[in-house]
């Protein structure tokens, strides 16, 4: 009995102290630790490796810190990787290609995705949920398979070209260019644009739209003046999702593009697997991250924040 009361006493004391501290800290401790271990730490590691020099060893990276005796630690920061990215043409082309293709893809996704989301939101409630599950169904199929389906459609002896030759027209080279890559990316990432826009549209109060009609605004103008500004949050989320997911995309440009449409993903692959240049790979990754984070930051800063 004495032992138990002692234990209970300790437990009481602990719980009292716990109450004093913000309880949210303990609730979120596990996810926080998770994020530090699996997200922050790897990024710091990549950041560090990007400043080392490639050597022939296992792992193929030079040491950043070395003890050279005399109580001195030699820290060596190698900027050569970043300089190479700036100097060598192939990296710059890959970057401009990536940003261009990604931007165009995001814009096309937005132009297609908003009308789709709007259209779905206009249907009856049970039709809406059916259409949304159809949309997410397309995301369940492996990207590779869907891209191969596209290849079948658009290749030089694919379905579309067969149709053209049936009508006596010259075959067209659809694949291996910007068009094909953008098409593939839009095809695969459209749901990521539609879903956030739809979720905001469905949540929004319809009375604002009715009020606009009532005040003399035609339906088309109302979409532009009321509906679009009110689903700004969904549009921004969709754009950020599509942009950040497509910029690092590897398989789609690889399958549908050519050396003309060199993108980040391909360069990373070559550096990592063919050249075994981990340092360079990491430097490219860091630059790529900057390319994603900076536009997102600007967009969030300028257009972020909701009204409600």
């Amino acid at each position: 009995m004495i032992k138990f009361s002692f234990l209970i006493n300790i437990l009481n004391r602990i719980s009292k102290n716990l109450d004093k501290i913000n309880n949210g800290f303990y609730v979120s401790a596990i996810p926080n630790i998770w994020i530090v271990i699996f997200f922050v730490a790897p990024i710091l590691l990549i950041f560090k490796i990007s400043f080392t020099e490639p050597i022939v060893s296992i792992p193929p990276i030079g040491k950043m810190c070395s003890y050279i005796g005399d109580y001195t630690v030699n820290i060596k920061i190698n900027l050569a990787n970043y300089v190479r990215i700036l100097k060598e043409n192939c990296y710059l082309t890959a970057f401009t290609n990536s940003v261009m293709i990604t931007t165009v893809t995001t814009l096309i996704c937005l132009l297609l995705g908003f009308p789709i989301a709007y259209g779905i939101n206009q249907t009856k409630p049970h039709t809406q949920s059916a259409l949304i599950s159809l949309l997410s169904l397309s995301m369940w199929t492996a990207t590779l398979i869907r891209v191969y389906a596209l290849i079948n459609l658009f290749s030089s002896n694919g379905a579309l070209n067969s149709l053209l030759s049936f009508f006596g027209l010259q075959p067209v080279k659809f694949l291996g260019n910007y068009f094909a890559v953008c098409l593939g990316l839009v095809f695969c990432y459209l749901p990521y644009m539609v879903l956030p826009i739809y979720s905001i549209l469905a949540k929004n109060d319809k009375s604002c739209v009715e009020a606009a009609y009532d005040l003399g605004c035609t339906p088309l103008k109302t979409i532009w003046k009321i509906t679009i500004p009110l689903c700004r949050g969904g549009i921004i989320t969709g754009c950020i999702l599509v942009f950040s997911m497509t910029i690092g995309e590897f398989s789609i440009p690889e399958l549908l593009g050519s050396s003309d449409t060199l993108m980040f993903g391909r360069i990373l692959w070559t550096e990592f697997f063919s050249n075994l240049d981990w340092a360079m790979t990491c430097a490219i990754s860091i630059v790529m991250m900057a390319f994603i984070i900076i536009p997102i930051y600007i967009v969030q800063k300028r257009y972020g924040g909701s009204f409600s």
């Binding site: 009375s207 009020a211 009609y213 009532d214 005040l215 003399g216 605004c217 009204f307």
Partner: protein, 379 residues
């Protein structure tokens, strides 16, 4: 109804040759086979403050939305100022609605919200400025031009919504439960303001509400709706004093109802015998009621008087015991159980403090009322 001010043309509906401003003719509407509005017809005259009063789900909001053009009626016509607007889309109607949720555009400032409708009419910038200023003065919202809706209080939002719908100077302004979101004090204050504004601008208002006090305070006439039908249209005091059916009588205010049979006709009274009250009841004629027909006798609680001494009358009195006293501050409601087992409500103003009240629980009292104050209902 605010009594003191007598408006010009206030009783247009009473004159035979007045032209109605808005005519609703046999409007019906159903949603997924559920009829929400059945064959509703009524007329409204210019400058009226008309209320549609009913419980939730009675179809009053649907009716209002059809007037705004946000729903299309299944059948019937809406004629406004001589033009059949039944099939006009909302953006082409000279009608504005003030939504229950206010529906302010959250991404626009107060100024932009109010100017929105005017911009759609492609008015000049200076004209828009003037019109916005005018309505902002009217609703007393000066100095709030650059605020966003989320920076406003409920009362201020309500004013912006009102200003926005007034700015276009519509022929008809529809108000969908405009005051429900406000607290009681503000609501009462706003009721009078709304009436004053309506008098100033002279626009015809239609108000939808479930709050009978609101309808009675503000409107020139009101329509009581029940399950998609209009049960009675009339001036508030008419509807209150002369309800045409049990439903309306019970819906507006509280009332004592006795089932009975017409036994005789006097020169100007009907004589009714009711097993629920142990007396002869005289009531003023309100229509043809043949002898022997089953009717309901209705008496408002405030029209019943209480006395401690026996009433020397041959009619219209009963004796009973006070069962409950509901003290409401300004008035007290006495629930008196008669010897037939019926509980009758009598409302007495509290002229004296509660402790000095002449009647207490379990007191034997006599209730009596005047023949003119009891009403015969046949439906």
């Amino acid at each position: 109804m605010i009594i003191p001010k007598k408006k010009k043309n206030v009783e247009a509906w009473a004159s035979v040759d007045a032209n109605p401003y808005l005519q609703v003719k046999n409007i019906s509407k159903s949603f997924q086979n559920v009829v929400t509005v059945r064959d509703v017809s009524f007329s409204i005259y210019k400058g009226e403050f008309f209320s549609l009063l009913g419980q939730s789900g009675c179809g009053k909001t649907t009716l209002l939305r059809m007037l705004a053009g946000l729903e299309t009626p299944d059948s019937g016509n809406i004629i406004l100022d001589g033009v059949d607007i039944t099939n006009y889309p909302p953006y082409k109607r000279p009608v504005n609605i003030m939504f229950q949720s206010y529906a302010l555009f959250p991404h626009m400032t107060v100024y932009q919200n109010i100017a929105f409708g005017l911009k759609q009419d492609k008015l000049k910038k200076t004209e828009i400025d003037n019109r916005v200023k005018e309505v902002v003065n009217l609703v007393q919202l000066n100095g709030y031009y650059d605020r966003y809706p989320h920076q406003l209080s409920g009362g201020q939002k309500q004013r912006v919504a009102l200003a926005r719908s007034l700015a276009k100077r519509p022929k008809l302004l529809l108000l969908d439960e405009p005051l429900t979101a406000l607290d009681k004090r503000l609501r009462e204050q706003t009721q009078f303001e709304l009436v004053n504004i309506q008098e100033k601008v002279g626009i015809t208002f239609i108000l939808v509400t479930h709050d009978q006090e609101e309808a009675m305070t503000m409107s020139t006439r009101m329509a009581v709706m029940e399950s998609g039908r209009i049960r009675q249209v009339g001036e508030p005091h008419d509807v209150y004093e002369f309800p045409n059916s049990r439903y309306v009588a019970e819906f507006i205010g509280s009332i004592n109802l006795f089932e009975g049979i017409v036994t005789d006709h006097d020169s100007d009274h009907v004589i009714i015998q009711s097993p629920e009250v142990d007396c002869l009841c005289y009531a003023t004629h309100t229509g043809a009621v043949p002898i022997g027909s089953k009717v309901t006798l209705a008496i408002r609680p405030e029209k019943i008087m209480i006395s401690a001494v026996k009433v020397e009358e041959t009619k219209n009195w009963v004796e009973g015991v006070i069962n409950e006293i509901a003290y409401l501050g300004d008035v007290s409601i006495y629930y008196v159980m008669t010897n037939t087992g019926k509980t009758i409500m009598a409302t007495i103003p509290n002229l004296l403090r509660l402790s000095e009240h002449p009647f207490q629980w379990e007191d034997k009292v006599y209730l009596f009322w005047r023949s003119e104050n009891s009403l015969v209902l046949t439906s």
